[in-house]
């Protein structure tokens, strides 16, 4: 069978979680014997499009064994990132689908590439959707009306009207109606976390999202085995993009509040926006115990997680399914995380780590202090993680989709 994968952006220019998911999905599907192609919008380049159709420029390339079709409009519409306009690019999408003749479409993200779903509906091509963020129910994508506030869903448009009044009410209502139409027309809608699934189920009437956790490539994981004694010094770690919503400043503030500070270290892995990184450097105040180690390649995960005793994920936004948390747990490294969204779904107090009130550096410092003072309290957590924590493999995650593809297309009927 032939399956097209849709995503708003893709490798090599973009390498975040959704791109990783779509790559894994398409790659595993190809390995299961299907013909696959990724269709994506390219906002990064204007040079590599060899062809034009209905005024849309497009071109194909190969990445990691996958065939990718990337396109872009000659002049990006100003609302490209949040508009769900059923007419935008529809003729282009229809012609591409008629040429490609897919049996099925699997969308990993619909930003910019939603015309392909409208076209699929017109052409009678079945599709499934995996939700990876809030884009379909929030034009600001993160359910964050401002950098320091969060909302709990559109509430039928009432929340948008109240917190995000820059959008006309008619636009919001029309967008939510289109979203509902797209989601209910899918053969199935999946989410990697229960939190994200519940948010959509509560926001879209009649929708029932199925939870399918993202899997990881265990071949790239090495357990960090250590037995802690009272006198051991604790190394806290942060892994991720350095942006305000990730809350790294909360962590540095908490670290600065620790008593007996010589007994702990903080390693920060990742890179980010210049202004925010400068702000973090100011907070760190040249403290030699705080180390900014920069970005790293995914093959270096064993080095990253062997260099820390506890991972801290202090995000001040929801997070959906933070890969970093599951990679840490797979490496048998306990996690301290904000008591929020997809994080609190993965981190259970006294089971595999601890949670704290989001954005509250004093609360975080309290948890960190307990560990600094009693390193041996990590031992039962590590033991529990080793025995009871199950992190699905990428093969187990993809098997769910493989079964759904077979069901939709009647392969084993």
């Amino acid at each position: 069978m032939k399956i097209l994968y849709l995503t708003h952006q893709f490798y090599p220019e973009f390498q975040a979680g959704t791109e990783k998911f779509v790559f894994n999905c398409a790659s595993m599907s190809q390995k299961a014997g299907n013909i696959v192609k990724v269709i994506t919008y390219n906002i990064a380049s204007v040079d590599n499009f060899a062809a034009s159709l209905h005024g849309v420029q497009y071109g194909e390339y190969q990445y990691g064994g996958l065939n990718v079709l990337a396109y872009r409009y000659p002049n990006d519409p100003g609302d490209l990132h949040f508009n769900i306009d059923p007419k935008l690019g529809i003729e282009f999408a229809k012609d591409i689908l008629q040429r490609e003749k897919p049996d099925l479409i699997h969308a990993g993200h619909l930003m910019r590439v939603h015309p392909f779903i409208f076209a699929a509906r017109e052409l009678g091509i079945p599709y499934i959707i995996t939700l990876t963020d809030f884009h379909l129910i929030c034009p600001k994508i993160m359910l964050a009306p401002t950098p320091d506030t969060l909302c709990s869903g559109p509430e039928g448009g009432a929340a948008c009207k109240r917190f995000c009044s820059e959008f006309p009410e008619s636009f919001i209502m029309n967008r939510l109606a289109l979203t509902r139409d797209l989601l209910l027309g899918a053969e199935a809608v999946y989410s990697p976390s229960k939190f994200l699934a519940d948010m959509f189920d509560n926001s879209v009437e009649d929708l029932k999202v199925v939870v399918n956790n993202h899997g990881i490539m265990h071949s790239n994981i090495v357990p960090h085995r250590q037995f802690y004694n009272k006198e051991d010094k604790i190394r806290f770690g942060f892994v991720g993009f350095l942006g305000r919503h990730k809350g790294t400043h909360v962590l540095i503030n908490a670290f600065n509040e620790l008593k007996h500070p010589h007994e702990a270290q903080l390693k920060i892995f990742g890179s980010g926006g210049t202004d925010y990184v400068s702000q973090l450097n100011r907070l760190a105040n040249s403290d030699s115990r705080i180390e900014f180690t920069g970005a790293f390649h995914s093959s270096e995960l064993p080095r990253v997680f062997s260099s820390m005793d506890v991972l801290v994920i202090p995000s001040i936004w929801y997070e959906n399914y933070p890969f970093t948390i599951v990679e840490s747990l797979a490496s048998e490294v306990p996690v301290i995380a904000s008591d929020l969204g997809g994080m609190k779904e993965r981190v259970i107090n006294d089971f595999n780590g601890f949670t704290f009130a989001p954005g509250d550096s004093a609360a975080l410092a309290e948890v960190m202090q307990k560990i600094v003072d009693n390193p041996e309290m990590l031992n039962p957590l590590k033991e529990t993680i080793r025995i009871k924590q199950v992190i699905p493999t990428v093969e187990q995650e993809m098997y769910v989709y493989w079964q759904k593809y077979n069901e939709v297309l009647g392969v084993y009927k």
């Binding site: 894994n24 790659s27 595993m28 190809q30 390995k31 299961a32 014997g33 299907n34 013909i35 192609k37 194909e60 190969q62 990691g64 064994g65 065939n67 976390s193 229960k194 199925v210 939870v211 399918n212 956790n213 490539m217 265990h218 071949s219 994981i221 090495v222 357990p223 779904e345 993965r346 259970i348 080793r386 025995i387 009871k388 924590q389 199950v390 992190i391 699905p392 493999t393 990428v394 093969e395 187990q396 098997y399 769910v400 493989w402 079964q403 077979n406 392969v411 084993y412």
Partner: protein
Amino acid sequence: MCLLKNDKKIIRKSGLFDEKYYLLNNPDVRNVDTDALNHFMTVGWKEGRNPSTKFDISFYLMRNPDVREAGVNPLLHYIRNGQAEGRLALPAEVMSHRTPTNMQKSPPKNLFTLANLRFAFRYIRLYGFRQFWLRAKNKLVGEKGSISNLDQSPLTIQHVSPKVSSLAFTADDEIEVVEKTVSVIIPTKNAGKDFPILMKTLNAQRGFEKIEVIIVDSGSTDETLETAKLLGATVVNIKPEDFSHSGARNLGAEAASGDYLMFMVQDALPPNDTWLATMHMTLIENDLAAVSCAETPREDADLFYRQNSWNYYNFLGINNADRIFSLPKSQDYVSLRQNGQLSDLANFISRDIFMQYGYRLNYAEDLDLGIRLIKDGHKLAFLGSNRVIHSHNRTPYYFLKRGFVDNIFLSDIFDDFVIPQIQLKELIPDLVSSFIFLSQLNSVLDSLSTPVNPEDLENLVLKSIDQGTGKKFVPSTSFFADSKFDDNAIKFLEKLIEGYDLKNNRNIEYGILHRAFRGHAQAVLDYIKNSYEVVDETLIEDVKVCFTKALSIILGSFLAFCYINRDETDSQEMKNLYSVMMEGV
């Protein structure tokens, strides 16, 4: 692709293609476990291989110069046009034997063309007069009813709904729990770092009152034993020297208390938490003795492994289907293999039945058990829709050994398994020529400007192989320099050809290995056409490794034939070869 699909449909519908006949009469195709009709459509008819006893390719082309000149598949021509135009499918005396009509007798002299005689001579030399006679008899008179079709009994599998996210914390649906216990039996030795994931996934299985895991360990020195105990498994220890594939599993069964046994391997992984329950439900609802399932590859599975599985499942008929096996009408080698296969990757069986039979042999004990069960009237199932995650990337040297061991075993248990009459001293020049050819083929692939489409890759590879056929060249031993062989394979091959005076073997022709390689290459290319629209640089590299492993497995097979054909002049050398090849597989 579509045209090929349509053509296949037309041929299938005509009843003029007989898969069993084709596989039984073409051992090189059988070794690939490829789709027989696909092979016939792409390669077989061009090589003059007949599709069944009902159609003679050579005869049809000889009688119809217009078809020969058009270069079209003669069987398709016959179905589409020839039949309606009154053209003959077989020499008249064969037709008259089968259907008494007024057809004219074809002149007997036509069978004795120079080409036919050369083919007959070569065939007798390799496969013996008996096989030649069987083939000739099939050609001349046909063997009605000697070969049965795949038993395609429809099988409905009720998949137990997986809890999907159950491997984490969040799922909330429930499935019915049966008051039964399952014992999962896994032979282990240094099971590796993924073993804890297997243990946890087994512990997470739902639908049974109790699941116990029994490992039969033959000397692990890594964390296997610690992990097993920590995660609640029962450990049965045996000495490494006491290990055998059957013996270890039988010991595990003796230690088991479950109503059902599930035999697995240490590097397999259930895909979800209802995998066992689905196997159980299949067994109960279809009144089966045992159920096995296909594998789905790990994310790092290489091209060779994936195409091998895909072709093998095509051979078993489970790529897009679940099948129930029972004793086929014909008990020839191919039919028994296609209808008696169980797999130790996942073999679910009631404990009572297993204890009556047990495993035997030190290799292919799963197939042996399956055949014994169907011979006693039991039914088995092999599922394509419920799979187990499993694959491993082995070296060319492993596949060399694997080809050897597979064929030794198959010749041991199947009386009708055809053994080409070849000796090692004849094989060596052939080996050298094939390996030189492979190195030349790699150069051709290196010079390819990517991306290309799979059909162009196919044309290029097959053209290179066909151009090599019959070509003479001066042998050398420098072909390893730029090869994809691992050091162990190179050491082995260098030792194997050491002492053979290749200088006196000037002007070697590509021979039987080359022809067998063509079959394997075609199987690889079929898989690529099925799964790729574009061949890029990465895939070309995979293809090179894949062809190296394919040639290794072919060579292993033919070394097995040499071993079976050994005589007093080379018996010591062959015994040494046997012990090297059997080690570690």
